[in-house]
């Protein structure tokens, strides 16, 4: 019980960061490469996208392992939520609370703001822009860049790949443009 309570605390970066490296190494040891967004392409191919678009014609059976990894990620989220959720609020910095307050998003102490991620979000245009639109940008951008945070920021930078450094720079350019230019318009 004490162990579970211990694990339920939010993990500091210096524990969780190396743990992410361990995930990358575990996959390398199994002869695979850590890259999550490839799954989106695989799912499109399984759904039959290859009939129309050549990009989705590839031997996706070789990617089944990654879909199992994806399944595990969903289970991991479930386990965390069921058994490893700490009591109390998310410890967000006072500065971030003020920044969000200024945008009209009060900090509610949850992992995600209920007003944006509750099911009622589906009833607003803003909710659709954020969820469907944001998802679209993530899917389009990760495939265009050839990888996401796992493939470029973690794996690519670990391999000292210039393209990955450019991609990660792009992640931040886009993120900052959204945060400082578009957020005041959306919220």
């Amino acid at each position: 019980m004490t162990m579970l309570r211990y694990l339920s605390q939010p993990w500091p970066w210096y524990i969780a960061g190396p743990a992410i490296t361990a995930v990358m190494l575990a996959l390398l040891y199994s002869g695979k490469t850590f890259g999550f967004s490839s799954n989106l392409r695989t799912i499109c191919s399984i759904a039959g996208a290859g009939k129309k678009v050549p990009f989705f014609q590839f031997d996706y059976k070789k990617q089944y392992w990654n879909l199992l990894f994806l399944l595990g990620a969903i289970i991991g989220g479930f386990i965390s939520q069921q058994w490893l959720t700490p009591p109390g609020q998310l410890q967000l910095s006072a500065g971030a609370i003020r920044d969000l307050q200024a945008l009209g998003i009060p900090f509610d102490g949850q992992l995600l703001p209920e007003q944006l991620f509750g099911t009622q979000a589906l009833l607003s245009v803003r909710g659709w822009i954020m969820l469907a639109g944001g998802g679209f940008l993530v899917g389009f951008g990760s495939r265009y860049a050839g990888g996401c945070t796992s493939g470029h920021a973690i794996t690519g930078l670990s391999m000292l790949q210039w393209p990955s450094l450019i991609a990660v720079t792009g992640f931040f350019i886009g993120g900052l443009i959204m945060t400082y230019l578009f957020f005041p318009l959306i919220f």
Partner: protein
């Protein structure tokens, strides 16, 4: 199937790490883009630094994987346009949804049904990229 279990277990570990580090939190991503906390930078930075060291060691000592095949690293295709443009588009979405592809699925497991809409969006985005691929600068 049995040999696939290792990937499910690795995925579970990943889901728990993403959850417990709060990297799945929309608030934490906002905090990162507002430079209000070191947390996310420490998380990615320490993962990368340790990654650089271990990848160097794997190469240096030609470490083999569990099948006895030497672990090799394929270089990413050269160029910059696709990385800068694609990366920036990805960044727009990352800040907006507060989640990159992994966390989107972790959050679904955490019990946020609206993530299904994000997943639908991400799959459409991937599909449209496939459709437009040859017309985009790479």
């Amino acid at each position: 199937m049995l040999k696939g279990i290792r990937f499910i277990i690795t995925g579970i570990a990943f889901g728990i790490i993403m959850s417990k580090s709060e990297a799945v939190s929309w608030y934490r991503i906002q905090e990162m883009f507002h430079f209000r906390s070191f947390h996310m930078y420490g998380l990615i930075g320490s993962a990368v630094l340790l990654g650089i060291a271990t990848v160097w060691l794997l190469k240096r000592y030609s470490i083999k994987d569990r099948h006895g095949i030497p672990i090799t690293f394929t270089d990413k295709t050269r160029g910059w346009k696709r990385y800068l443009l694609g990366g920036s588009i990805f960044g727009l979405g990352w800040a907006l949804t507060g989640a990159c592809p992994g966390p989107i699925f972790v959050l679904l497991g955490q019990g946020f049904p609206v993530m299904l809409l994000v997943i639908a969006g991400a799959l459409s985005g991937t599909y449209i990229y496939g459709e437009l691929k040859d017309r985009l600068p790479h």
